[in-house]
Amino acid sequence: MNFELLAQLTITGIVLGSFYALMGMSFGIVYQTSKIFHLANAIPFAAAGFAAVWSAETFHLPMFGAFIVGLVAAVIVGLLILVLGYFPLINRNATLLSLFLVSLGVTVAFPNLLQIVFGTQNKTLQVYGADGTLNRAFETQVYNVGFLTITQLDIVKIIVCWLVVLCVVLFVNKTRFGRSITALRTNPTMAAAVGINSKVVYIVVFAIGSLIAGMGGLFVTTEFVAYPTMALQWTLIGFIAVFFGGIGSLPGTALGGLLLGLLSSWSSVWLGVQFAPVVVFGALFIILLVRPQGLFGKAAA
């Protein structure tokens, strides 16, 4: 393998890995606080994409207006799932398995509902131009730096993803509210005793997780298209980043995501891009075998 190819693949891997890290943050903050295997995190992701496309066409919103609608929609559906789906079960001390089953039901129902309402066609994010015509909202520019190629969107993606990682890590580790998240995670009984309201913490955490998932959905919609089942594979990537990087360690999750992105990019030389899921799965498999707590996770006492 020559150097130019390696360098290009590394760039692609960083772009991919940044997105993986973003998805890892989204699931990681929810999972480490609530222990819920929140598969329904796929729903804010898809909801953001569809809400953006729909609002841009219906209300003639500019691109950023549509983004805001998308993010608001993501947070709203995320919180609806928590409040209507999880809280009733948490209130009666249901098992984590039953919470997962609720998540599963929502995850399968929602994209199919989208399909019934919006049809099966892919949705491109389009905005009305000054001349009143509907055009694709964002055409990315391609930059060539020497022998390397990177798009404008890729650069935005890297910056946004790592900003989000930074914000989430700082929020959890440095703020007062973040400490109550940690308290709830490590000792729920004690947290309740010192007056931490677990419901409030859950709401904040799910709002953040859904917001980030929504950002993921907007990236995919802007770069490609929105479609009902667009979220599943990325949600799974978020899960894998968490378990691969280390449960309970958000920086570990982010680094794990980055590493997975690089691995799937580099391996495409030998295996072809289609087999990236095999590489990701294989990496997860090996890590769980040799280090069940994840690459950067702390062993549980």
């Binding site: 398995l97 599963l104 039901g105 019934i116 075998l289």
Partner: protein, 591 residues
């Protein structure tokens, strides 16, 4: 006829896949998201095994169909079962290190979604997005079984019915066997199995393997019957549909699964006739919604586990008095030589968590055949010492000797098998299981816990099972609760639940029994019963060590006591000696 035949086939396939998942989800409390892809792995494996070999005469490119190994259908069917069974064991391998349901969910979900993608690109095996065609049908004599022609569709439906009945019988047989009892215990209280000396990992993995193997076999039959298939047949939605069938019908109840499969499988033809093209998404909305609604309003499902239990009731054997139970239990000989060494020797045990020293070098001995109490104020490190003796925590320093043999650092399962059993502060009994099953699970060396015995030595298995149940009944009789043997533990009073937990300890045959706060939370009227029970353990020659806060209880019961404070032993002696020392009493009661 053929139309209804095809509907019946679809429902029967869904039913078989769901019944096998119920074994995992209902009995073991673990969920697999890969049932659909494993069904597909079986289908493609069978297709490649059964398709004719590539020869000059039979050229795949010319004929437009796939080629393969040219095996007979039954060999291909077996091959599919074996391949999916092994695939499942491999996928779940990392879950071995962590006995937690989430790992199986993660791994199976990743396998399902990754596998779907690989199926659409791995043309050599799956034929890519267009799939495989020309798969020969099952032929027995001159009869063929496939859905290609009308009369053979009905024949295949009948064949599928027979297969489904077999699958139900197999899953029922496994679920209701001693092996199934292990699975239910795993579902209810996963920490209990290791504490009675049984590894939870083997049953968990094996069950996932069986679930997968059945899915693979059904997949093979699907391939033979359809003649052609594409990867689209094996998506995540099907996996979720199967989970929905099990949950809707009732986890842990195979009859419920039959009802669930008929309801959700029957939706298909109804929806195709009403909403037409939107039938598939509508169906997904309905079963996804059903899953959510069921978890909200009726988590036990339409037909809950044990719905038919009351019909089985009333078969209790004649009551046994505690004295009779004592008589027959005392025949069980101790595994360790009497009087060889102290039952337990704890030497310089240390454990700290982070900077917090929980136990700072505790040394004491526990004499054989006596009741010894560990006492001391809260935070003295009593439960931590229990956890180190039983292997739940590895001590930072120090040794634990059982009858002179060093057992420090062994696993929980090994230590339990060496002869130390423990109870837990929070009883940890399995509420959805009968009292008898709660105790029977602890009886060692059960033939029926091995699947090969279940299949190849059914008579011996039955005999051992009868002995096991008898044994469990004796243990219950010793505490005067054998009349409740067929009740669900969840229906008992808390005091009786504690007795069940102690009976479970006794059933393990362990010589040293560690009781963690046996009377905490028990109402005063029942404390006497628990005390009597503990005395009977001693009268049987068992060595008892207990942690207890009630001084009254300790005074009445314990032969000796070890006084701990802040992780070190302050004094040893009889209870009265310790209580009469002013400084200890002050420490204990607060001065």
């Amino acid at each position: 006829m053929a139309y209804y035949g095809q509907i019946a086939i679809n429902i029967l396939i869904l039913l078989s896949l769901s019944v096998s998942l119920n074994l995992l989800l209902g009995y073991a409390g673990r969920v697999s998201m890969a049932q659909s892809i494993l069904f597909g792995v079986g289908a493609f494996t069978a297709a490649r095994l059964v398709l004719p070999q590539l020869t000059d005469k039979y050229n795949a490119n010319v004929s437009g169909v796939g080629y393969g190994m040219g095996w007979p259908w039954w060999a291909a069917l077996l091959g599919a079962i074996v391949v999916t069974f092994i695939a499942a064991l491999v996928i779940s391998l990392p879950a071995v290190r962590q006995v937690k349901g989430e790992y199986l969910i993660l791994l199976t979900l990743a396998f399902q979604l990754g596998g779907q993608q690989v199926m659409t690109v791995w043309e050599a095996v799956t034929g890519g997005p267009f799939g495989v065609a020309g798969i020969p049908a099952i032929k027995i004599g001159s009869m063929s079984f496939s859905t290609v022609k009308a009369d053979s569709t009905v024949r295949f439906a009948i064949l599928m019915l027979i297969v489904t009945v077999i699958v139900i019988a197999v899953c029922w047989g496994i679920g209701e066997s001693p092996f199934g009892r292990l699975l239910k215990t795993l579902r209810e209280q996963e920490s209990v199995l290791p504490s009675v000396g049984k590894s939870p990992i083997r049953p968990e993995l094996l069950t996932f393997g069986i679930t997968a193997g059945i899915a693979g076999g059904i997949g093979a039959l699907f391939a033979f019957s359809q003649g052609a298939m594409t990867p689209v047949n094996f998506g995540l939605d099907l996996s979720i549909l199967i989970v929905s069938v099990v949950v809707l019908g009732g986890v842990g109840n195979i009859f419920g699964t039959i009802v669930g499969a008929i309801i959700l499988g029957g939706l298909d033809p109804i929806l195709s006739n009403t909403v037409g093209a939107d039938a598939i998404p509508w169906r997904a909305v309905i079963y996804g919604g059903a899953l959510v609604v069921m978890m909200m309003v009726r988590p036990q499902g339409l037909i809950p586990e044990g719905a038919f239990r009351r019909f089985k009731k009333g078969k209790t054997t004649e009551e046994m008095t505690p004295a009779e139970a004592m008589e027959s239990l005392s025949r069980v000989s101790a595994t360790h030589e009497v009087g060889s060494a102290p039952a337990l020797e704890v030497e310089g045990l240390k454990k700290s968590f982070g900077g917090l020293v929980a136990v700072g070098g505790a040394s004491f001995t526990i004499a054989e055949g006596k009741i010894t109490a560990l006492i001391g104020p809260n935070g003295a490190g009593k439960t931590t010492i229990f956890n180190m003796i039983t292997g739940t925590f590895k001590p930072d320093e120090g040794t634990v000797k059982l009858f002179g043999q060093d057992i420090t650092g062994l696993s929980v399962v090994d230590i339990a098998n060496k002869g130390i059993a423990r109870s837990f502060q929070d009883v940890r009994i399995c509420e959805q299981m009968t009292v008898l099953d709660n105790v029977a699970v602890a009886v060692p060396k059960q033939a029926g816990e091995g699947l090969t015995n279940l299949v190849f030595r059914p008579l011996k298995t039955r005999k051992v099972e009868r002995a096991t149940r008898e044994r469990a009944l004796e243990c219950l009789a010793l505490f005067g609760i054998s009349d409740k043997a067929n009740d669900l533990v969840g229906e008992l009073s808390y005091g009786d639940q504690k007795l069940v937990a102690i009976a479970r300890l006794l059933a393990t045959d362990a010589d040293v029994l560690l009781l963690d706060e046996p009377t905490s939370g028990v109402d005063p009227a029942n404390v006497e019963g628990v005390m009597q029970g503990v005395r009977r353990l001693r009268d049987l020659g068992r060595t008892v060590c207990l942690v207890e806060h009630s001084v009254h209880f300790v005074q009445q019961l314990a032969d000796r006591a070890v006084f701990l404070d802040q992780g070190i032993v302050l004094a040893e002696g009889t209870v009265d000696e310790l209580i009469n020392q002013q400084e200890l009493a002050d420490l204990y009661f607060g001065s």
